[in-house]
């Protein structure tokens, strides 16, 4: 045994249980417990020297096999990665925020056929900065998640989860916005920066009042301050003019800094409303 593995002769004796002192029996048994190679050698030895053991094994296997094979196959997860990155209940909201740009695009196309003021702002441009916020609301909001008690009490809850869900929302929402913008003829440069500022601002505010309420506040605020006035008075909103880009860039930097400073708040229940 000191050499490591029991000799073939010893295994043969073990298989037939003939003339084997108890201490050797135990030693072989302990070794077999931990050594798959010797178990395989024992199986061969049993076939050669102890046909009764082979019969017994076959008999047991015949009884066990139906049960073992009847075990249902483990189904693979259908959405292995998706649920780690997107909020599981967010699909309806994401679809809505994908639809909004196309609705706005349709309104613009219809308006273009009507004899109205050519200086009139595009509806798509007006709503584009807040469309991503609709999706961001789903990423970290109690009301939109049926399992919010579980999510809110999990160690995974926090900045990392908010960020990866927000990233998914942006990846889903921005391409349709860009496509609709190309169709209408709105330069992405005009709305991309404002929409990122609004998203970052919403998340920062959300760290203290809850991302859901912050998204509502941002949307209502934007509609009241920008969309409604320019639709009512048919004026191009000053905040979306081409010369405001530097201002928006400064805002983006400030919002990002504020967001980084408030990053720890996402672990607390206050941010999850």
């Amino acid at each position: 045994m000191t050499a490591g593995h029991p000799s073939q002769a010893l295994l043969d004796r073990y298989a037939t249980e003939v003339d084997l002192p108890p201490d050797a029996l135990w030693a072989v048994e302990v070794h077999l417990d931990g050594c798959a190679a010797c178990r395989a050698r024992l199986a061969d030895a049993a076939v050669d020297h102890a046909p009764s053991v082979g019969e017994l094994v076959d008999q047991v296997w015949a009884e066990v096999a139906p049960v073992v094979r009847a075990e249902p196959p483990v189904r693979r997860r259908r959405w292995p990665v998706l649920s780690r990155w997107a909020a599981p209940a967010s699909l309806p909201w994401l679809l809505t925020s994908v639809l909004v740009p196309f609705v706005a695009m349709a309104m613009d196309l219809i308006a273009a056929t009507l004899p109205v003021d050519p200086g009139r702002p595009s509806v798509l441009l007006l709503v584009a900065p807040v469309v991503p916020v609709l999706g961001v609301a789903t990423s970290w909001s109690r009301r939109l998640d049926p399992a919010h008690e579980l999510v809110g009490s999990a160690p995974r809850a926090g900045l990392g989860m908010v960020l990866r869900r927000t990233l998914v929302v942006l990846l889903v929402v921005l391409p349709p916005l860009a496509v609709a913008g190309v169709v209408v003829g709105t330069a992405p440069a005009l709305w991309l920066l404002p929409s990122l500022v609004v998203v970052t601002g919403t998340l920062t505010l959300g760290a203290y009042v809850g991302v859901g309420p912050a998204a509502v506040l941002a949307t209502v605020g934007w509609v009241a301050a920008v969309v409604a006035p320019s639709l009512v008075w048919d004026g191009f909103p000053a905040v979306l003019g081409p010369d405001t880009t530097p201002v928006w860039a400064v805002c983006a930097v400030l919002a990002t800094i504020a967001f980084v400073l408030s990053r720890h708040a996402f672990r607390h229940p206050v941010s999850y409303r």
Partner: protein, 271 residues
């Protein structure tokens, strides 16, 4: 099913009580549902009893770090959580079955428990085993592939239990775990609780006094956000057998429950 025990699991704890609260006040809406509560819970199964609105669910939510204490001191697994400490570390040791067990209807049982295991940061290579063990413990092995929407209310409750115990949390918070279970399953669930109580601090909020007697090592009786009685189940029985009260029906335990509540209210009223 055999599982490797890590060094961390056998290491001695560095805290005396998994749950320790001093003067805890927690808001539910505008009022304080938990109002100046002092409590220390060790390992074992603790039954949380009390009339409707006594603050059981709010206390459980505070222990689950979902509701933030308004004032007072709350320490879970040796970490203070009232002043915004490291919640992440505490939450790794938490298992939680909320009163309203919200779930994703189109997930299968296994997918849902896997998702919770991921949320709970169970190491990825342990997830399949931990999930299977949790599902086996609540007798849902044969339904592991069914979607949650196809399950009955009692089965959903058992999925809730499975997701709470996945990953072997040290502090297990169960809000009415036996609601909707048939008698056989209820007995199995209580057996599971007793089993868990050997190395876990289990807090069970319930309305069923019999559940407490069957599964709990001690009773915490809440009234108006404070602890009216905290002691072994025998204390409840003793209070029930003390004075025969013709007004209150039910068994010894119900009578004990009523007597202890009345005693507490008299004491509070005379202050």
């Amino acid at each position: 099913m055999i599982r490797t025990v890590s060094a961390g699991e056998t290491a001695p704890t560095t805290y005396a009580w998994p749950v320790q609260a001093r003067g805890l006040r927690v808001r539910a809406g505008r009022r304080f549902a938990v109002d100046g509560l002092d409590l220390r819970l060790g390992f074992g199964v603790h039954g949380l009893l009390g009339p409707n609105g006594a603050g059981k669910t709010t206390l459980i939510r505070a222990l689950a770090t979902v509701a933030r204490p308004a004032s007072g001191h709350l320490e879970l697994l040796g970490q203070a959580v009232d002043s915004g400490g490291d919640l992440r570390e505490v939450r790794r040791g938490l298992g939680y079955l909320p009163q309203e067990f919200g779930h994703y209807r189109w997930y299968t049982v296994r997918e849902f428990v896997e998702y919770v295991a991921w949320l709970r940061e169970v190491p990825a290579r342990d997830v399949p085993d931990a999930v299977q063990r949790a599902i086996d413990r609540v007798d849902l092995t044969s339904r592991a592939g069914s979607t949650l929407r196809s399950l009955s209310g009692g089965m959903l409750r058992r999925v809730g239990l499975a997701q709470a115990v996945v990953g072997d949390p040290t502090l297990l918070l169960l809000d009415e775990p036996t609601v909707g279970l048939d008698p056989e399953q209820r007995a199995r669930a209580l057996e599971l609780l007793r089993d868990l109580g050997r190395d876990t601090c289990v807090v069970v909020a319930t309305h069923v006094v019999d559940d407490v007697a069957a599964a709990c090592t001690d009773v915490v009786l809440l009234d108006a956000g404070r602890v009216a009685f905290h002691g072994p189940v025998a204390g409840l029985t003793a209070a029930g057998t003390g004075g025969a009260d013709p007004e209150v029906g039910g068994g010894v335990l119900e009578r004990g429950y009523a007597a202890l509540l009345r005693r507490h209210r008299d004491r509070e009223g005379s202050k």
